[in-house]
Subunit: 188 residues, 2 copies
Protein backbone atom coordinates (compact mmCIF):
# COMPACT_ATOMS: atom_id res chain seq x y z
CA UNK A 1 0.00 0.00 0.00
CA UNK A 2 1.34 3.42 -0.94
CA UNK A 3 2.01 5.60 2.09
CA UNK A 4 -0.60 8.30 2.59
CA UNK A 5 0.34 11.95 2.89
CA UNK A 6 -0.30 13.51 6.27
CA UNK A 7 -3.19 15.51 4.84
CA UNK A 8 -4.78 12.41 3.31
CA UNK A 9 -4.41 10.57 6.57
CA UNK A 10 -5.92 13.37 8.64
CA UNK A 11 -8.86 13.75 6.25
CA UNK A 12 -9.44 10.02 6.40
CA UNK A 13 -9.19 10.15 10.19
CA UNK A 14 -11.94 12.77 10.36
CA UNK A 15 -14.07 10.72 7.99
CA UNK A 16 -13.51 7.51 9.91
CA UNK A 17 -14.38 9.07 13.27
CA UNK A 18 -17.46 10.68 11.83
CA UNK A 19 -18.74 7.26 10.84
CA UNK A 20 -17.47 5.55 13.97
CA UNK A 21 -16.68 7.92 16.85
CA UNK A 22 -15.91 5.04 19.21
CA UNK A 23 -12.66 3.82 17.68
CA UNK A 24 -9.71 3.84 20.06
CA UNK A 25 -6.35 5.38 19.16
CA UNK A 26 -4.97 1.84 19.07
CA UNK A 27 -7.57 0.74 16.53
CA UNK A 28 -6.94 3.83 14.42
CA UNK A 29 -3.22 3.21 14.58
CA UNK A 30 -3.73 -0.30 13.23
CA UNK A 31 -6.15 0.85 10.56
CA UNK A 32 -3.78 3.53 9.24
CA UNK A 33 -0.60 1.56 9.87
CA UNK A 34 1.01 4.39 11.84
CA UNK A 35 2.03 4.66 15.49
CA UNK A 36 -0.44 5.52 18.25
CA UNK A 37 1.68 8.63 18.86
CA UNK A 38 1.02 9.77 15.28
CA UNK A 39 -2.72 9.33 15.75
CA UNK A 40 -2.56 11.43 18.93
CA UNK A 41 -0.68 14.19 17.14
CA UNK A 42 -3.19 14.07 14.26
CA UNK A 43 -6.01 14.42 16.74
CA UNK A 44 -4.32 17.37 18.42
CA UNK A 45 -3.70 19.13 15.12
CA UNK A 46 -7.27 18.60 13.95
CA UNK A 47 -8.71 19.31 17.42
CA UNK A 48 -10.42 15.93 17.63
CA UNK A 49 -11.25 15.17 21.25
CA UNK A 50 -10.10 11.94 22.86
CA UNK A 51 -12.34 8.87 22.89
CA UNK A 52 -13.77 9.48 26.38
CA UNK A 53 -14.85 12.98 25.35
CA UNK A 54 -16.28 11.78 22.04
CA UNK A 55 -18.42 9.21 23.85
CA UNK A 56 -19.64 11.83 26.32
CA UNK A 57 -20.59 14.18 23.49
CA UNK A 58 -22.62 11.56 21.68
CA UNK A 59 -24.31 10.52 24.93
CA UNK A 60 -25.23 14.10 25.83
CA UNK A 61 -26.61 15.05 22.44
CA UNK A 62 -29.87 13.20 22.51
CA UNK A 63 -30.59 10.01 24.17
CA UNK A 64 -34.01 8.59 24.94
CA UNK A 65 -34.59 6.61 28.09
CA UNK A 66 -34.89 2.85 27.96
CA UNK A 67 -38.46 1.75 28.61
CA UNK A 68 -38.61 -2.00 28.06
CA UNK A 69 -36.08 -2.94 30.73
CA UNK A 70 -34.17 -1.31 33.56
CA UNK A 71 -31.08 0.63 32.50
CA UNK A 72 -28.73 -1.61 34.48
CA UNK A 73 -30.21 -4.67 32.78
CA UNK A 74 -28.74 -3.68 29.44
CA UNK A 75 -25.60 -5.71 28.68
CA UNK A 76 -22.94 -3.21 27.64
CA UNK A 77 -23.20 0.56 27.97
CA UNK A 78 -25.81 2.41 25.92
CA UNK A 79 -24.24 5.35 24.10
CA UNK A 80 -27.13 6.42 21.96
CA UNK A 81 -30.80 5.55 21.87
CA UNK A 82 -33.62 6.76 19.65
CA UNK A 83 -36.61 4.67 20.67
CA UNK A 84 -38.07 2.61 17.83
CA UNK A 85 -35.31 3.84 15.53
CA UNK A 86 -31.69 3.18 16.43
CA UNK A 87 -29.37 2.48 19.33
CA UNK A 88 -25.68 1.96 20.04
CA UNK A 89 -23.92 0.25 22.92
CA UNK A 90 -20.33 -0.64 23.72
CA UNK A 91 -19.02 -3.68 25.52
CA UNK A 92 -15.40 -4.02 26.60
CA UNK A 93 -14.32 -7.66 26.54
CA UNK A 94 -12.87 -8.50 29.93
CA UNK A 95 -11.55 -11.73 31.40
CA UNK A 96 -15.01 -12.83 32.58
CA UNK A 97 -16.21 -12.79 28.96
CA UNK A 98 -13.61 -15.11 27.43
CA UNK A 99 -12.76 -18.80 27.28
CA UNK A 100 -9.86 -19.57 29.63
CA UNK A 101 -7.98 -21.54 26.99
CA UNK A 102 -7.82 -19.15 24.09
CA UNK A 103 -9.02 -15.76 25.42
CA UNK A 104 -11.77 -15.68 22.79
CA UNK A 105 -15.00 -13.98 23.84
CA UNK A 106 -17.84 -16.42 24.44
CA UNK A 107 -20.67 -16.16 21.93
CA UNK A 108 -23.39 -15.61 24.49
CA UNK A 109 -21.87 -12.32 25.65
CA UNK A 110 -21.95 -10.89 22.12
CA UNK A 111 -25.46 -12.26 21.82
CA UNK A 112 -26.45 -10.71 25.16
CA UNK A 113 -25.19 -7.29 24.10
CA UNK A 114 -27.06 -7.43 20.79
CA UNK A 115 -30.21 -8.99 22.21
CA UNK A 116 -30.53 -6.52 25.07
CA UNK A 117 -29.97 -3.64 22.65
CA UNK A 118 -32.71 -5.04 20.39
CA UNK A 119 -35.04 -5.07 23.40
CA UNK A 120 -33.89 -1.67 24.71
CA UNK A 121 -34.73 0.01 21.40
CA UNK A 122 -38.41 -0.88 21.77
CA UNK A 123 -40.68 1.97 22.85
CA UNK A 124 -42.83 -0.16 25.13
CA UNK A 125 -42.95 -1.39 28.72
CA UNK A 126 -42.97 -5.01 27.68
CA UNK A 127 -40.71 -6.44 24.98
CA UNK A 128 -39.51 -10.00 24.62
CA UNK A 129 -37.36 -11.61 21.95
CA UNK A 130 -39.32 -14.10 19.86
CA UNK A 131 -36.60 -15.28 17.50
CA UNK A 132 -33.20 -14.40 16.11
CA UNK A 133 -30.83 -15.30 13.31
CA UNK A 134 -27.27 -14.54 14.28
CA UNK A 135 -23.78 -14.84 12.84
CA UNK A 136 -20.42 -14.74 14.52
CA UNK A 137 -18.11 -13.41 11.83
CA UNK A 138 -14.76 -13.43 13.56
CA UNK A 139 -13.42 -14.33 16.98
CA UNK A 140 -13.35 -11.41 19.43
CA UNK A 141 -10.45 -11.28 21.85
CA UNK A 142 -9.82 -10.14 25.40
CA UNK A 143 -9.34 -6.36 25.60
CA UNK A 144 -11.30 -5.56 22.44
CA UNK A 145 -14.19 -3.10 22.43
CA UNK A 146 -17.39 -4.20 20.71
CA UNK A 147 -19.65 -1.46 19.36
CA UNK A 148 -23.16 -2.77 18.67
CA UNK A 149 -25.48 -0.77 16.40
CA UNK A 150 -29.17 -1.56 16.31
CA UNK A 151 -31.70 -0.35 13.78
CA UNK A 152 -35.44 -0.92 13.61
CA UNK A 153 -36.16 -2.38 10.19
CA UNK A 154 -39.87 -2.95 10.39
CA UNK A 155 -42.62 -2.38 12.92
CA UNK A 156 -45.58 -4.69 12.51
CA UNK A 157 -48.66 -4.82 14.71
CA UNK A 158 -47.30 -6.74 17.65
CA UNK A 159 -43.65 -7.27 16.74
CA UNK A 160 -40.63 -5.26 15.68
CA UNK A 161 -37.79 -6.44 13.46
CA UNK A 162 -34.42 -5.15 14.67
CA UNK A 163 -31.11 -5.54 12.86
CA UNK A 164 -27.99 -5.45 15.06
CA UNK A 165 -24.43 -5.23 13.75
CA UNK A 166 -21.46 -5.33 16.10
CA UNK A 167 -18.08 -3.96 15.14
CA UNK A 168 -14.55 -3.86 16.41
CA UNK A 169 -13.14 -0.74 14.85
CA UNK A 170 -14.48 -0.97 11.31
CA UNK A 171 -14.67 -4.73 11.22
CA UNK A 172 -18.04 -6.46 11.45
CA UNK A 173 -17.74 -9.26 14.03
CA UNK A 174 -21.37 -10.15 14.74
CA UNK A 175 -24.70 -9.61 13.07
CA UNK A 176 -28.19 -10.54 14.11
CA UNK A 177 -31.78 -10.08 13.05
CA UNK A 178 -34.13 -10.09 16.01
CA UNK A 179 -37.91 -10.35 16.09
CA UNK A 180 -39.12 -8.71 19.29
CA UNK A 181 -42.69 -8.96 20.61
CA UNK A 182 -44.25 -5.85 22.08
CA UNK A 183 -47.51 -5.33 23.88
CA UNK A 184 -48.35 -1.71 23.23
CA UNK A 185 -51.52 -1.84 25.26
CA UNK A 186 -49.83 -2.91 28.50
CA UNK A 187 -48.97 0.49 29.90
CA UNK A 188 -48.33 0.83 33.60
CA UNK B 1 -60.69 -34.89 30.51
CA UNK B 2 -61.84 -38.22 31.92
CA UNK B 3 -60.05 -39.10 35.12
CA UNK B 4 -57.37 -41.73 34.67
CA UNK B 5 -57.35 -44.88 36.71
CA UNK B 6 -54.44 -45.25 39.12
CA UNK B 7 -52.93 -47.94 36.94
CA UNK B 8 -53.19 -45.78 33.81
CA UNK B 9 -51.59 -42.89 35.64
CA UNK B 10 -48.73 -44.97 36.99
CA UNK B 11 -48.04 -46.51 33.59
CA UNK B 12 -48.04 -43.05 32.06
CA UNK B 13 -45.75 -41.84 34.83
CA UNK B 14 -43.21 -44.55 34.02
CA UNK B 15 -43.46 -43.73 30.33
CA UNK B 16 -43.08 -40.01 30.92
CA UNK B 17 -40.03 -40.40 33.14
CA UNK B 18 -38.45 -42.79 30.69
CA UNK B 19 -38.62 -40.07 28.04
CA UNK B 20 -37.79 -37.25 30.43
CA UNK B 21 -36.17 -38.40 33.68
CA UNK B 22 -35.61 -34.79 34.82
CA UNK B 23 -39.19 -33.79 35.50
CA UNK B 24 -39.85 -32.64 39.05
CA UNK B 25 -42.71 -33.97 41.15
CA UNK B 26 -44.31 -30.53 40.82
CA UNK B 27 -44.18 -30.69 37.03
CA UNK B 28 -45.57 -34.23 37.04
CA UNK B 29 -48.35 -33.15 39.36
CA UNK B 30 -49.35 -30.40 36.94
CA UNK B 31 -49.10 -32.68 33.94
CA UNK B 32 -51.35 -35.34 35.49
CA UNK B 33 -53.60 -32.91 37.34
CA UNK B 34 -53.10 -34.67 40.65
CA UNK B 35 -51.45 -33.53 43.89
CA UNK B 36 -47.70 -33.69 44.44
CA UNK B 37 -48.45 -36.12 47.27
CA UNK B 38 -50.13 -38.49 44.79
CA UNK B 39 -47.08 -38.37 42.53
CA UNK B 40 -44.84 -39.21 45.51
CA UNK B 41 -47.01 -42.17 46.44
CA UNK B 42 -47.03 -43.35 42.81
CA UNK B 43 -43.23 -43.15 42.77
CA UNK B 44 -43.01 -45.10 46.01
CA UNK B 45 -45.35 -47.82 44.76
CA UNK B 46 -43.51 -48.14 41.46
CA UNK B 47 -40.10 -47.79 43.13
CA UNK B 48 -39.16 -44.80 41.00
CA UNK B 49 -36.29 -42.95 42.66
CA UNK B 50 -36.58 -39.25 43.42
CA UNK B 51 -35.31 -36.66 40.95
CA UNK B 52 -31.89 -36.22 42.57
CA UNK B 53 -31.26 -39.96 42.32
CA UNK B 54 -32.53 -40.15 38.75
CA UNK B 55 -30.12 -37.41 37.72
CA UNK B 56 -27.24 -39.16 39.45
CA UNK B 57 -28.05 -42.44 37.73
CA UNK B 58 -28.11 -40.88 34.27
CA UNK B 59 -24.89 -39.02 35.00
CA UNK B 60 -23.12 -42.17 36.20
CA UNK B 61 -24.23 -44.38 33.33
CA UNK B 62 -22.05 -43.09 30.57
CA UNK B 63 -20.89 -39.64 30.15
CA UNK B 64 -18.07 -38.50 27.92
CA UNK B 65 -15.83 -35.68 29.04
CA UNK B 66 -16.20 -32.26 27.51
CA UNK B 67 -13.27 -31.49 25.21
CA UNK B 68 -14.02 -28.18 23.53
CA UNK B 69 -14.26 -26.10 26.69
CA UNK B 70 -13.59 -26.46 30.39
CA UNK B 71 -16.33 -28.22 32.35
CA UNK B 72 -17.04 -25.17 34.52
CA UNK B 73 -17.47 -23.07 31.36
CA UNK B 74 -20.63 -24.90 30.41
CA UNK B 75 -23.72 -22.85 31.31
CA UNK B 76 -26.04 -25.18 33.19
CA UNK B 77 -25.15 -28.63 34.47
CA UNK B 78 -24.32 -31.36 31.98
CA UNK B 79 -26.29 -34.50 32.75
CA UNK B 80 -25.43 -36.59 29.75
CA UNK B 81 -22.89 -36.27 26.97
CA UNK B 82 -22.11 -38.50 24.00
CA UNK B 83 -19.50 -36.60 22.03
CA UNK B 84 -20.56 -35.80 18.47
CA UNK B 85 -23.97 -37.35 19.15
CA UNK B 86 -26.12 -35.98 21.94
CA UNK B 87 -26.01 -34.05 25.20
CA UNK B 88 -28.35 -32.87 27.93
CA UNK B 89 -27.97 -30.09 30.48
CA UNK B 90 -30.22 -28.54 33.10
CA UNK B 91 -30.40 -24.93 34.18
CA UNK B 92 -32.41 -23.78 37.18
CA UNK B 93 -33.74 -20.26 36.65
CA UNK B 94 -32.70 -18.19 39.64
CA UNK B 95 -33.12 -14.51 40.44
CA UNK B 96 -29.93 -13.52 38.59
CA UNK B 97 -31.42 -14.91 35.36
CA UNK B 98 -34.66 -12.91 35.28
CA UNK B 99 -35.87 -9.40 34.52
CA UNK B 100 -36.57 -7.52 37.76
CA UNK B 101 -39.95 -6.30 36.57
CA UNK B 102 -41.68 -9.47 35.51
CA UNK B 103 -39.47 -12.37 36.72
CA UNK B 104 -39.16 -13.67 33.16
CA UNK B 105 -35.84 -15.32 32.30
CA UNK B 106 -33.67 -13.21 30.03
CA UNK B 107 -33.18 -14.65 26.57
CA UNK B 108 -29.41 -14.67 26.67
CA UNK B 109 -29.35 -17.17 29.54
CA UNK B 110 -31.43 -19.69 27.58
CA UNK B 111 -29.22 -18.96 24.61
CA UNK B 112 -26.07 -19.42 26.72
CA UNK B 113 -27.24 -22.81 27.97
CA UNK B 114 -28.07 -24.02 24.45
CA UNK B 115 -25.00 -22.50 22.82
CA UNK B 116 -22.55 -23.90 25.35
CA UNK B 117 -24.19 -27.32 25.03
CA UNK B 118 -23.84 -27.12 21.23
CA UNK B 119 -20.13 -26.40 21.73
CA UNK B 120 -19.66 -29.00 24.48
CA UNK B 121 -21.01 -31.76 22.25
CA UNK B 122 -18.16 -31.28 19.76
CA UNK B 123 -15.39 -33.87 19.93
CA UNK B 124 -12.58 -31.39 19.35
CA UNK B 125 -10.30 -29.09 21.31
CA UNK B 126 -11.44 -26.05 19.39
CA UNK B 127 -15.07 -25.33 18.60
CA UNK B 128 -16.67 -21.96 17.97
CA UNK B 129 -20.24 -21.07 17.06
CA UNK B 130 -20.49 -19.68 13.52
CA UNK B 131 -24.21 -18.99 13.34
CA UNK B 132 -27.51 -19.84 14.93
CA UNK B 133 -31.24 -19.61 14.32
CA UNK B 134 -33.14 -19.53 17.56
CA UNK B 135 -36.71 -19.28 18.80
CA UNK B 136 -38.08 -18.40 22.19
CA UNK B 137 -41.39 -20.23 22.33
CA UNK B 138 -42.73 -19.21 25.70
CA UNK B 139 -41.59 -17.06 28.61
CA UNK B 140 -39.64 -18.98 31.25
CA UNK B 141 -40.19 -17.94 34.85
CA UNK B 142 -38.16 -17.74 38.03
CA UNK B 143 -37.89 -21.15 39.72
CA UNK B 144 -38.42 -23.20 36.56
CA UNK B 145 -35.95 -25.87 35.46
CA UNK B 146 -34.86 -25.81 31.83
CA UNK B 147 -33.70 -29.12 30.33
CA UNK B 148 -31.74 -28.58 27.11
CA UNK B 149 -31.27 -31.49 24.71
CA UNK B 150 -28.70 -31.25 21.95
CA UNK B 151 -28.34 -33.56 18.97
CA UNK B 152 -25.75 -33.55 16.21
CA UNK B 153 -27.67 -33.39 12.94
CA UNK B 154 -24.87 -33.28 10.44
CA UNK B 155 -21.10 -33.33 10.52
CA UNK B 156 -19.47 -31.67 7.53
CA UNK B 157 -15.77 -31.22 6.92
CA UNK B 158 -15.10 -28.28 9.21
CA UNK B 159 -18.46 -27.64 10.82
CA UNK B 160 -21.13 -29.48 12.75
CA UNK B 161 -24.85 -28.74 12.75
CA UNK B 162 -26.37 -29.11 16.21
CA UNK B 163 -30.06 -28.92 17.06
CA UNK B 164 -30.90 -27.88 20.62
CA UNK B 165 -34.38 -28.06 22.15
CA UNK B 166 -35.04 -26.80 25.66
CA UNK B 167 -37.98 -27.98 27.71
CA UNK B 168 -39.76 -27.22 30.92
CA UNK B 169 -41.40 -30.47 31.81
CA UNK B 170 -42.76 -31.59 28.45
CA UNK B 171 -43.21 -28.12 27.04
CA UNK B 172 -40.79 -26.84 24.42
CA UNK B 173 -39.67 -23.34 25.43
CA UNK B 174 -36.64 -22.73 23.22
CA UNK B 175 -35.20 -24.22 20.07
CA UNK B 176 -32.06 -23.45 18.17
CA UNK B 177 -30.05 -24.71 15.22
CA UNK B 178 -26.34 -24.02 15.68
CA UNK B 179 -23.53 -24.25 13.15
CA UNK B 180 -20.31 -24.88 15.06
CA UNK B 181 -16.84 -24.65 13.51
CA UNK B 182 -14.30 -27.27 14.48
CA UNK B 183 -10.63 -27.56 13.74
CA UNK B 184 -9.93 -31.26 13.94
CA UNK B 185 -6.26 -30.83 13.20
CA UNK B 186 -5.53 -28.46 16.09
CA UNK B 187 -4.79 -30.97 18.81
CA UNK B 188 -2.83 -29.86 21.83
Amino acid sequence: MAKRSKKERQDLLLDTLKKNPFMTDEELSELFQVSVQTIRLDRLEKAIPELRERIKTVAEQNYDEVRSLLAHEVIGEIIDLQLDQSAISILDIRSEHVFTRNQIARGHHLFAQANSLAVAIINDELALTASAEIRFLRAVKLGERVVAKAKVEEKAEDRTKVQVESYIGEELVFSGRFIVFRSDHQRT
